[in-house]
């Protein structure tokens, strides 16, 4: 297959080493902000990786992935509000709620293809957004403060910045390991085959719908985990996390890093969010640069950063 040493592997390894050592740097330099920033990046990278499973490997362009961030977050927030603080309850509920939402939305939207699918996933995520805005008991538009982070019976302390960062990183790496197994499994090959040529897959005996739906549910569940982490990270959850531009951000991260590559979404998330941070320090109007930059990436950079590195490897 690929060579033992390649630019994409080197960059991936470098990035992983950086992520692992980041808390150390933060402690030594006293730069606490960077740890906060990267906790957020790691969580959103997890969300992007889950989107990559359906979009990159499965060819299902969902424009409503941020809905799961909200569902996972609200599961934690609402349970905390109702006095259930244990993460052993909160997190499974977050995952289950995401899975159920994905099952219903997937069953409906997978009846369609292409543009329709994009618009429908977007519309349903918007519905979730409005529903959350209508939850007067849980803050409505203003959102819901999570006064106490999920408790894991003393195993990890989520209020400890470093512990929480490593928990997020462990979740990210765990999910990526899972995706790695899935895409090389029987199931994963079928899903990728369906992306490549649905007619052929039907002809050799695979019904498309149920494989796509299961993949859609797995991806949504993974993103629900990111939602639970995000609510703990910000101690707050509001309809804004489900706003459609957030779904757009996740798509951009996946494309920027490289669709259908294992670590592409992570690289994409790091680059996108760090760029956003840097640009917003330089100018208040950072989106004025970011917007056209996206256009340029789409026009000239198909395959994202991973694709670029791959071309470098091949010389």
């Amino acid at each position: 297959m690929s060579k033992a040493f390649s630019a994409s592997r080197a960059v991936t390894a470098l990035m992983l080493a950086g992520l692992l050592l980041l808390p150390l740097y933060s402690q030594l330099s006293g730069n606490l902000f960077i740890l906060t920033l990267f906790t957020r990046i790691v969580i959103l990278a997890l969300a992007a990786a889950s989107l990559n499973l359906i979009m990159g490997y499965g060819g299902m362009t969902s424009f409503g992935h941020a809905a799961y961030l909200g569902i996972g977050g609200y599961a934690v927030g609402i349970l905390a509000q109702e006095g259930i603080g244990s993460g052993f309850v909160q997190w499974p509920v977050a995952l289950a709620a995401s899975a159920i939402y994905a099952l219903v939305i997937g069953a409906l939207s997978l009846r369609t293809r292409g543009v329709y699918f994009i618009m429908i996933t977007l519309a349903f995520a918007q519905m979730a957004y409005y529903v959350a805005s209508g939850l007067a008991r849980y803050g409505g538009d203003d959102g819901l403060t999570v006064y106490k982070r999920s408790a894991f019976a003393g195993l990890v302390d989520l209020s400890n910045r470093v512990q929480f960062y490593y928990l997020c990183l462990a979740c990210l790496l765990g999910v990526i390991a899972l995706i790695w197994r899935i895409v090389n499994s029987r199931f994963g090959l079928v899903v990728q085959g369906l992306r490549s040529n649905e007619q052929r897959m039907q002809a050799i005996g695979f019904p498309a719908g149920r494989y796509r739906l299961v993949c859609f549910v797995i991806s949504g569940t993974m993103c629900g985990l990111a939602g639970a982490l995000l609510a703990n990270n910000t101690d707050f959850v509001s309809p804004a996390v489900m706003y459609w531009t957030r779904s757009g951000d996740l798509m951009v991260m996946v494309i920027l890093g490289g669709m259908g590559t294992l670590f592409g979404p992570v690289i994409g998330a790091v680059v996108y969010l760090v760029l956003e941070e840097l640009l917003s320090q330089v100018t208040e109007y950072w989106a004025l640069i970011m917007g056209p930059l996206l256009l340029v990436i789409v026009l000239f950079g198909r395959g994202g950063i991973m694709g670029l590195l791959g071309r470098l490897d091949r010389g």
Partner: protein
């Protein structure tokens, strides 16, 4: 009674406004196979242009006319510079590129007009309430919106159904290769169609401007409603977009107005007031879900084979 008539007219007005937005979107989809998220930005630009030009000229009508021309021009420039390279590419590319355009437009507006919203005051003759039935008054301006939108819808219908360009547009919506085969200048047709769509979005935006504040991001939520309408109506179908838009406008308006009371009949009043806002904002999406189950290709698909 009074409330019902008023809400009916509100629903009609909202639906017609949505139609103006959805018509351009569905034509661009159907003919150019282009997913344009920035359609909502054109709506926003229409409103900003109108507010600015009206302030300059001191005339609401003159400002509106200038704004219409400006969005048409903006649409043409946008098509020629940014969107042309996207034709024939993956829908995902369209989504991302036009997502980038939204970021750009929002930020450009913030830079030029500042973060605070603008107001577009109405001339006095449009603010008077007009008697429509005995004892029932309705704002003249909202009636004007209904009239203008109906005229535009009629023109659009006649234009698409009766004229030569309209024939090409319909041919393009159901079979894209065909217009090429007919030896038509596709580039020009695309530019015209996109410009038309932009002008329609601008018209919707500038008409909505006096009712709501002119602000950044105003085109985004309404764009998603336009998507729902297209899904319900069927891509590329003007007729489908019209009927679905009226339907969605009515259901959304009526739902918000009457659902809380209806719920109060069945639920306890606290439960009803908790559930009503969430439920009424779900209504049109539930409608979309039902259409998807029954007819995944929409109610009036343009390219029925």
């Amino acid at each position: 009674m009074l409330l019902v008539v008023e809400q009916f007219l509100n629903g009609l007005q909202f639906g017609l406004l949505l139609f103006l937005l959805a018509a351009g979107l569905t034509l661009v989809f159907g003919i150019m196979d282009l997913v344009n998220l920035a359609h909502g930005s054109l709506y926003m630009m229409g409103a900003y242009f109108a507010a600015t030009f009206a302030a300059w000229t001191g005339s609401f009508l003159l400002g509106a006319l200038l704004a219409l021309g400006a969005t048409l021009l903006l649409g043409i420039v946008l098509e020629v510079t940014a969107l042309r390279p996207l034709y024939g590419r993956d829908h995902l590319d369209h989504v991302l590129a036009t997502f980038g355009l939204i970021l750009f437009f929002n930020e450009a507006v913030r830079l030029i007009w500042g973060p605070a919203g603008l107001a577009l005051p109405l001339p006095a003759w449009l603010t008077v309430p007009v008697p429509i039935l005995s004892g029932i008054y309705y704002p003249a301006y909202r009636l004007a919106i209904i009239a203008v939108a109906l005229v535009v819808a009629l023109l659009l219908y006649v234009g698409v159904m009766r004229t030569r360009i309209g024939m090409l547009i319909r041919a393009g919506a159901s079979n894209r290769e065909m217009i090429g085969a007919l030896g038509i200048n596709i580039k020009l047709l695309y530019t015209l169609v996109f410009g038309l769509g932009a002008a329609l979005a601008g018209l919707a935006g500038l008409m909505q401007a006096p009712i709501l504040t002119v602000q950044i991001g105003m085109g985004e939520n309404i764009l998603i409603l336009a998507f729902v309408i297209i899904v319900i109506g069927g891509i590329g179908s003007i007729r489908g977009a019209f009927l679905a838009a009226i339907f969605v406008g009515m259901i959304d308006t009526m739902g918000r107005a009457f659902l809380p009371n209806l719920l109060r009949q069945v639920l306890s009043s606290t439960a009803a007031s908790t559930a009503a806002p969430a439920l009424s904002s779900m209504l049109i999406y539930l409608l979309m879900a039902i259409v998807l189950v029954v007819r995944p290709e929409g109610l009036f698909p343009a390219n029925r084979r």
